[in-house]
């Protein structure tokens, strides 16, 4: 190889960007060419010295600031759009599970308090059956009215942090396809936590559950509310139009 050609690729050689075959050519050439050897040496020397220039380490404070912003950005993101809830990441899931467990405990208590009078309770075998078999039925209006009338529940859900925990718990149940449980929690939020910052997502999720259960009209009702609460949801608006069209086609 000629010197001019070697000089062209010397820089790539110094920074390890050459193919092995070309690197060998450079090495062979500089063994016999003093001029190119010197040029190579100068580059390598300069690079070697400057490599030792001090680097800068940012403060932990700066690192934590960024991390906090990164975590907040996740929370602000619309959870309904989060396709995959990171169930595989146990660390990050733990607080949610704790939240979910405590919320379920509260719900359980609430439901026990407002259980139907003994005479109306189904006979044990059926009750047991219902508990074991995953429900495909939605808890209906009587549940909703009972829960929304409970001052304890409304006090609980007026606490933003509690509402958020309940919302996360509902999202997890939803992701696990436990729609009846999710529905109960969303409904409690819907009825009581009217100022909750994700109330439009709550309405949307209720709509989605209704849609899953083939209750298109109910679904539309809640989708409509969601859009009322947050009018920037273009995709949801499209969905409403689509469902409306579907409904009118079905009825005609």
């Amino acid at each position: 190889m000629k010197c001019s050609k070697i000089q062209d690729i010397l820089l790539d050689y110094v920074y390890g960007e050459l193919e092995p075959a070309d690197a060998v050519k450079v090495e062979e050439h500089v063994r016999v060419c003093a001029e190119c050897a010197s040029a190579l040496h100068e580059m390598e020397f300069t690079s070697k010295v400057f490599k030792k220039a001090e680097s800068r380490v940012p403060s932990n404070h700066a690192v934590e600031n960024i991390f906090r912003a990164a975590s907040e950005a996740l929370r602000e993101e619309e959870p309904a759009e989060r396709k995959i809830i990171p169930l595989f990441n146990r660390e990050s899931l733990r607080p949610f599970l704790v939240g979910a467990a405590s919320v379920m405990l509260i719900i359980g208590t609430v439901m026990w308090i407002f259980r139907p009078p003994a005479s109306q309770q189904p006979v044990p075998p059926e009750a047991v059956k219902e508990a074991i078999v995953p429900t495909t039925k939605l808890p209906e209006d009587d549940f909703i009215t009972r829960v929304s009338a409970n001052p304890e529940v409304s006090r609980l859900t007026s606490n933003p942090q509690a509402a958020e925990n309940m919302f996360e718990a509902a999202n997890i149940l939803y992701a696990q396809e436990s729609y009846d449980g999710a529905f109960r929690l969303y409904m409690i939020l819907y009825k009581n936590a009217t100022d909750f910052k994700y109330n439009y997502l709550v309405s949307q999720r209720i709509g989605e559950i209704y849609e899953r259960f083939g209750r298109t009209e109910k679904a539309l009702e809640y989708y409509g509310k969601s859009v009322e609460q947050n009018s920037t949801q273009k995709e949801l608006k499209d969905k409403i139009d689509r469902l409306n069209a579907e409904l009118s086609r079905r009825s005609s």
């Binding site: 030792k52 800068r56 940012p58 912003a69 990171p86």
Partner: protein, 205 residues
């Protein structure tokens, strides 16, 4: 396509809600980005601000992140733009201080002989090391901006020439040519400060 713990994968994991993946990214690149900014703008505090701002912008971009390009290309493109913004803002002030500071008149004032009392290298290695660091910093700072960014990205951030071409929006050949000039200029700065092979061989740095 991407390594499990590769930057791109971490970015995608963050996109799906895994904040810890983003923490790994911050920790992995904190020194790189801060040092890059430091070498670009020459000020530690500004460098730290740019480091923060770079990652904050990254957070804003994460939703649309597609992992099509190498993560570091994106990272250093953002960091570089912030550095440029900062330097443009400072330009006016910088001009003034340069005019006042007498540029090339201080010939010889920062050779090692002048900086080390009695030339006794062993007498105070840490002072010596500090002085060499000053020389290196000054040499990098004195490079024209277009050479400096190429040099820093290749030498310290380990970006390949074609990646640097993407970051700086220039042709790869232009990048290489700037790199050659940068190395030649830096070599001159070393010679001027009498940083010789012997000095470096003693591994005082």
């Amino acid at each position: 396509m991407f390594k499990e713990d590769g930057d791109e994968m971490l970015m995608l994991r963050y996109q799906r809600g895994d904040a810890e993946a983003f923490r790994t990214l911050i920790l992995r690149h904190r020194i790189g980005v801060t040092s890059f900014a430091y070498r670009y703008v020459g000020d530690s505090q500004v460098a730290e601000d740019i480091f923060q701002e770079t990652f904050l912008r990254l957070i804003q971009k994460v939703k649309r992140y597609k992992a099509q390009a190498k993560f570091t290309t994106l990272l250093y493109t953002i960091a570089r733009n912030l550095c440029i913004d900062h330097l443009r803002k400072m330009e006016h002030r910088k001009h003034q201080s340069l005019n006042a500071g007498g540029g090339e008149d201080d010939e010889g004032s920062d050779t090692l002989e002048n900086m080390i009392p009695g030339k006794s290298i062993d007498a105070d290695r840490s002072v010596f090391r500090k002085e060499i660091q000053k020389v290196l910093k000054k040499a990098i700072d004195s490079l024209p901006e277009e050479q400096r960014e190429v040099f820093v990205l290749r030498e310290y951030q380990d970006l390949r020439f074609r990646e640097i071409a993407k970051v700086t929006r220039t042709a790869t050949n232009t990048v290489k040519s700037r790199m050659r000039y940068a190395l030649a200029n830096l070599r001159k700065a070393l010679a001027k400060a009498r940083i010789t092979e012997e000095v470096v061989r003693d591994e005082v740095l």
